[in-house]
């Protein structure tokens, strides 16, 4: 096998670093998607529970970990952000359906991002193997010279 020179090793290190940075971005996107999914699930739970609570009292978070008891005047009418910074009024059931659709979309996106991440990690493994083999060759060559 032909021995790798230092320049080739450096290039491989750069590739590895760059792939690592790209992988970090995709991991960040996965986290965002997961947060969005969890938020939507929590919203669905709250919307469904609102219809079944007897007096319509909910805990309203006001920031800083503080909450107040609040009464929902119209648990059937939900103001929903549907995208493009547009808020529309929907029935409770429609809002739940919308959120469920969004969850499906987010899960599909998660799948795509995860596939890309797997692909990147595969490439990183390949580079790692080549780097490892290059280091071993360099070490062996140095030993021979000694």
């Amino acid at each position: 096998m032909q021995q790798m020179d230092q320049r080739e090793l450096m290039t491989l290190q750069h590739y590895l670093k760059e792939y690592g940075q790209q992988a970090e971005i995709f991991v960040g996107q996965l986290e965002l998607l997961e947060n969005g999914r969890m938020e939507a699930l929590a919203a669905i739970e709250a919307l469904e529970d609102m219809l079944t609570t007897e007096d319509g009292t909910v805990l309203l978070q006001i920031g800083g970990g503080a909450s107040v008891r609040a009464k929902v005047i119209e648990p059937e009418k939900i103001l929903l952000s549907i995208g493009a910074e547009v808020v529309v009024e929907r029935s409770n059931k429609e809002a739940v359906e919308f959120l469920k659709e969004r969850i499906i979309e987010m899960e599909a996106s998660q799948k795509r991002v995860a596939e890309t991440l797997d692909h990147l990690r595969g490439q990183m493994n390949e580079i790692n193997k080549r780097l490892e083999s290059g280091y071993q060759q360099s070490a062996a060559a140095e030993k021979d010279q000694d």
Partner: protein, 351 residues
């Protein structure tokens, strides 16, 4: 790419088609009753302007004399509302959604349709025409370079982490493949590792790169890149810059200085398609502060909703130039509105 939007648009098209079909079937059923009471010929109605809101009497007469049916606003108002929601849910900006709905409405209301003619084709055509209207003409970079004095200097701007440096490399590879000589200016001297990153890209695709030390003045790097291009008769200078938010005044001033020093022919704003409406808002801000001549949207392959791609050209009035669609250097496609619309709504034969 834009799979969710495609699915929703096709569903909206079918709903529109069904609404029109239902309304027209009612008109057709009136034929028998009407032929008993209405005179057979009336050339006046042949000359009726075809896109005026039709009256009931007009509808019946046109049906009898010309064997045509007319679509009224009422026939499609519900389906149009659903289309509006569909577009908004796909993160298409509100003014763009309005423009599409108005275009489709103007195109369909008052439209004469021959009995037996496909409603789907009529609706598909109206939707295609509306989308083409908001998508603009795109931006043919090859043609721009062919018709301008060289070196053509292209400055890339945008916020952090959207894939600007990779986009510069991809466009470099694209231009090289199209027979142009290219030099890259490593103007992102701020982010750790950015100079190395673009250096590796340039080496891999075989493009000359001009770079200084980390922390150097980006204006000086890009000035040197332009000087290199002039002295070596290079066709294109691609100037990478550090990502920045439009709210950071010191970094925006730096960009202004770069603009003064290298005098770019084109300023290209880079953002990610997955950012949806945020990308549209940021592009508008950048256009206001440093200007933008064209836009590149990265990560379009990850974007199921397509809102940014549909909205950006119409909202900021600047064309979309490329869509980034993957990790490889070849994963960049020139934005062709006709192809995108065709992909979203299928060919006529599918209608």
């Amino acid at each position: 790419m834009f799979g969710g939007l495609k699915e929703k648009l096709l569903a909206a098209r079918n709903r529109l088609g069904t609404s029109i079909q239902g309304a027209l079937a009612k008109q057709e059923s009136l034929t028998t009753e009407a032929t008993d009471t209405e005179p057979e010929s009336s050339s006046v109605y042949r000359k009726t302007p075809s896109l005026k809101p039709p009256t009931f009497a007009n509808k019946v007469k046109v049906l009898i004399t010309e064997r045509e049916l007319i679509v009224s606003e009422k026939d499609i108002s519900e389906a149009l509302s659903e289309l509006e929601i569909t577009l908004l849910e796909s993160d298409v900006a509100l003014p763009v959604t309005d423009a599409i709905i108005t275009h489709v409405k103007n195109n369909l209301v008052g439209k004469h349709r021959k009995i037996g003619e496909s409603v789907d084709a009529l609706v598909t055509e109206a939707l295609k025409s509306a989308l083409l209207d908001v998508l603009g003409k795109g931006f043919n970079l090859n043609e721009y370079i062919r018709t301008h004095v060289r070196p053509v200097k292209i400055l890339f701007t945008g916020v952090n982490g959207t894939g600007k440096t990779t986009t510069v490399a991809k466009i470099g590879a694209y231009l090289k493949k199209n027979g142009y000589t290219v030099v890259i200016g490593a103007g992102d001297t701020y982010r750790a590792g950015a100079i190395e990153q673009i250096g590796v890209h340039a080496e891999r695709i075989g493009i000359k790169i001009i770079q200084h030390q980390e922390g150097a003045d980006p204006s000086a790097v890009l000035f040197d890149a332009v000087q290199y291009a002039v002295s070596h008769k290079t066709d294109v200078v691609l100037a990478d810059t550090a990502g920045r938010f439009h709210t950071k005044s010191n970094l925006m001033n730096q960009l202004e200085k770069i603009r003064r020093v290298m005098k770019p022919d084109l300023i290209v704003y880079v953002d990610e398609a997955v950012a949806g409406n945020d990308a549209v808002i940021r592009a508008a801000e950048f256009d206001r502060t440093v200007g933008a001549d064209a836009v590149v949207l990265t990560k379009a392959d990850m974007d199921s909703r397509g809102g940014a791609a549909i909205s950006i050209a119409h909202t900021i009035g600047k064309p979309l130039m490329f869509l980034g669609t993957g990790q490889g250097y070849d994963d960049i496609i020139p934005f062709d509105p006709a192809l995108v619309v065709e992909d979203l709504l299928g060919s006529d034969s599918d209608a």
